[in-house]
């Protein structure tokens, strides 16, 4: 026994070396385990990005008659980027997307907050109303687009109600088309905002609210001093989620107006779609896609680090 234990103790240092070696070999082995996933990731993320970057520096379109990897033959030294920066239709689409975002998301936020506040107390039929409230966000956006397309038709119920002639349609009116799209988006996505904000509001301990009331705080005071500060994280999550989603708005617009009349409701997604399948300007689409990706990434990182500091 003693013969066996003694060397073990004295070889303590050598043992440590052994385990380091195992760990190192283990890391090597781990690498091989991870490799397939890594390759898959490279294939689905890095490769398309690089391809996009490559194409964005060429004039290549599928009509060119050469395969994409030979696009270097029509290399244009970043002229696409210059074209994009000076393309009024691109800036128009970007502005309209931002416009929908800065109108619809706050509207959804305030409506969602107000509705959530109504739902923190029990009342008869709460469960039923709750289910009804959540229905819009369960519907496929394309279907919502179709619903509102039918609602805003020249012969549709809204015109009928407002007594407008069937020749007139909100969806083809220069000023009202955008309003119609925004209304549809608010209708569909207020429930999500409501759901997230209600969850956050129910997370505020009810005894603290009671304590605040007993201390003499009015409902408004307690809302702004107790409920709202405690919901900060949830509010940030809800706003970021909706803002990002809203930036990608496509289905609603595509079905309701297809960007029309003219380009009055054309958002970035719809514009990219039209450029891709209408104009077949794939290199230009790659340029815009990449630029928006980079711009959004920078904005998101700035935003998140700002919020982390707060």
């Amino acid at each position: 026994m003693t013969d066996q234990t003694a060397p073990e103790i004295s070889n303590n240092h050598a043992n440590a070396g052994y385990w380091t070696r195992v760990a190192r070999d283990g890391q090597k082995m781990g690498f091989w385990f991870v490799l397939p996933t890594l390759l898959l990731l490279v294939f689905i993320v890095v490769f398309p990005l690089l391809m996009q970057l490559y194409l964005s520096f060429t004039w290549w379109t599928p009509l060119e008659g050469i395969p994409w990897y030979q696009a270097w033959e029509v290399f244009n030294w970043g002229e696409n980027y210059w074209y994009m920066v000076t393309d009024p239709r691109f800036w128009g689409a970007l502005w309209r997307t931002v416009l929908i975002m800065i109108v619809a998301v706050p509207a959804q936020f305030f409506l969602g907050m107000a509705l959530a506040y109504l739902f923190i107390d029990q009342f008869p039929g709460r469960k039923l109303f709750y289910s009804i409230m959540l229905t819009p966000m369960m519907i496929v956006p394309a279907v919502v687009g179709l619903m509102f397309f039918l609602l805003f038709q020249g012969t549709g119920p809204i015109n009928d109600h407002l007594g407008l002639p069937p020749e007139f349609s909100c969806l083809t009116d220069v000023n009202r088309a955008m309003i119609s799209v925004i209304i549809a988006d608010i209708w569909q996505w207020t429930p999500l905002m409501f759901l997230i904000l209600l969850a956050g509001m129910l997370g505020v301990p009810s005894d603290q609210l009671l304590a605040a009331r007993l201390l003499g705080g009015s409902n408004w005071q307690n809302f702004f001093k107790i409920i709202l500060p405690r919901m900060k994280t949830v509010i940030i999550i809800a706003l970021v989620l909706r803002a990002v989603e809203c930036f990608k708005i496509f289905d609603l617009v595509f079905i309701m107006t297809n960007g029309g009349p003219g380009v009055q409701t054309e958002t970035i997604s719809v514009f990219l779609y039209n450029q891709t399948f209408g104009e077949l300007e794939w290199a230009y689409v790659a340029t815009m896609g990449l630029s928006i990706l980079i711009a959004l990434s920078i904005l998101a990182m700035k935003g998140l680090s700002y919020m982390a500091k707060k």
Binding site: D207, L214, L215, I226
Partner: protein
């Protein structure tokens, strides 16, 4: 500071009656404990006073004014929650100042009062820290300070000491008593701990299954319980309460205990049992400290024989468990003359014994 009249208050939740026709008068500046086992309706009563629950029947008045139409935030009630309900997202300072800020009190006035209260509660060094960083003991102080700073008409405390460790609980008990004197506040205190109630309150309302069992000063309740429940609930160790049937034989009245033994009734307790001819089964009660050993001291004292089963040390004294057939009596062995296994006589002074009607629980006779 206010007086409170609770008049025939009933609270029902659907078919369940949580509070059943309770009436309590609380005078200005009094410290009243609502005492009872869990689920007896004491917290519901408190919540009705605070306005957190509606009153199904009856009325609650502050200084004669019915509160049912006054909103919670306008009632000016200090309420200390069992888990304190500290605003953990705010600083200690902001917690203290909340009640003043919402009333739009002048900034400098707020600052003066917050600092005075923090000083009183000895949490001044914590003022600028987030309230979530406080220890449980400090949270307790903050919760009381936050309610006290608005100078409420009445103070309600819902089991405020139950989360504290034993040492701090004893300290806080004394502190609460001091605070109550300082504030001169009407205070209502909910607890299931009879020792807390006995040591703190001017008056105790004992509640069981939604009914008011007895309302009075702690010593009155202890010495003169009006029913079997109160007798059983108040006092530590508990009163000996043994049940049996009354039987008269050759002019002697015996209580034939359900455990097999019998108590020969004599003196005052005999008179108590016979005060109502309709009573056939009764409960005999005597506090452990009233039982004695050695020589019989009074002519009407009842002699029993029992076997010492267990001797338990309770502070400086020993508590003897005396078995009389199937019935157990608890008694203090003050002279330390007992041994486990001893068969000893012990004596029940008849004027310290109490008689209860077994069916209704009502006290027979009286002090």
């Amino acid at each position: 500071m206010s007086s409170i009249q609770i008049q025939n208050v009933t609270k029902r939740f659907g078919d369940f009656t949580a509070v059943d026709d309770i009436s309590i008068d609380i005078e200005e500046g009094e410290f009243v404990a609502l005492l009872g086992p869990s689920g007896c309706g004491k917290t519901t009563t408190m919540n009705m006073i605070a306005g957190l629950e509606d009153v199904t029947e009856g009325a609650i008045r502050f200084d004669g004014q019915d509160l049912s139409r006054i909103r919670i935030q306008d009632r000016n009630i200090g309420f200390v929650f069992q888990n304190y309900a500290i605003f953990t997202h705010l600083s200690v300072y902001k917690n203290l100042s909340y009640g003043l800020e919402v009333k739009k009190v002048d900034r400098s006035e707020i600052d003066r009062r917050v600092r005075a209260m923090a000083d009183r509660m000895s949490i001044t060094h914590r003022l600028d820290q987030p309230a979530s960083s406080l220890s449980v003991n400090e949270m307790q102080k903050l919760a009381i300070g936050r309610s006290a700073i608005v100078e409420p008409r009445i103070f309600l405390l819902d089991e405020p000491l139950s989360n504290l460790d034993a040492g701090f609980r004893a300290y806080m008990r004394a502190e609460l008593k001091v605070l109550q004197h300082e504030f001169g506040q009407t205070m209502i205190y909910v607890t299931h701990d009879q020792i807390e109630a006995m040591s703190l309150a001017d008056k105790i309302a004992i509640i069981d299954q939604g009914k008011l069992m007895q309302y009075g000063a702690p010593l009155d309740i202890y010495n003169d319980p009006q029913n079997r429940f109160v007798a059983n609930f108040v006092g530590s160790p508990r009163m000996n309460l043994v049940d049996g049937e009354l039987r008269e034989e050759r002019g002697e009245l015996h209580l034939m205990l359900h455990g097999g033994a019998e108590i020969p009734l004599a003196g005052k307790v005999r008179a108590d049992f016979t005060s109502d001819a309709r009573v056939h089964s009764g409960s005999f009660g005597i506090r452990p400290q009233d039982i004695y050993f050695g020589d019989r001291r009074g002519p009407t004292d009842i002699t029993m024989h029992g076997k010492v089963e267990v001797l338990e040390r309770v502070g400086p004294k020993r508590l003897a468990y005396l078995q009389v057939q199937e019935t157990m009596f608890l008694a203090f062995d003050d002279h330390a003359q007992l041994e486990v296994g001893d068969d000893v006589p012990f004596f029940l002074p008849s004027d310290a014994s109490m008689a209860f009607d077994l069916d209704s629980g009502r006290r027979l006779g009286g002090r």
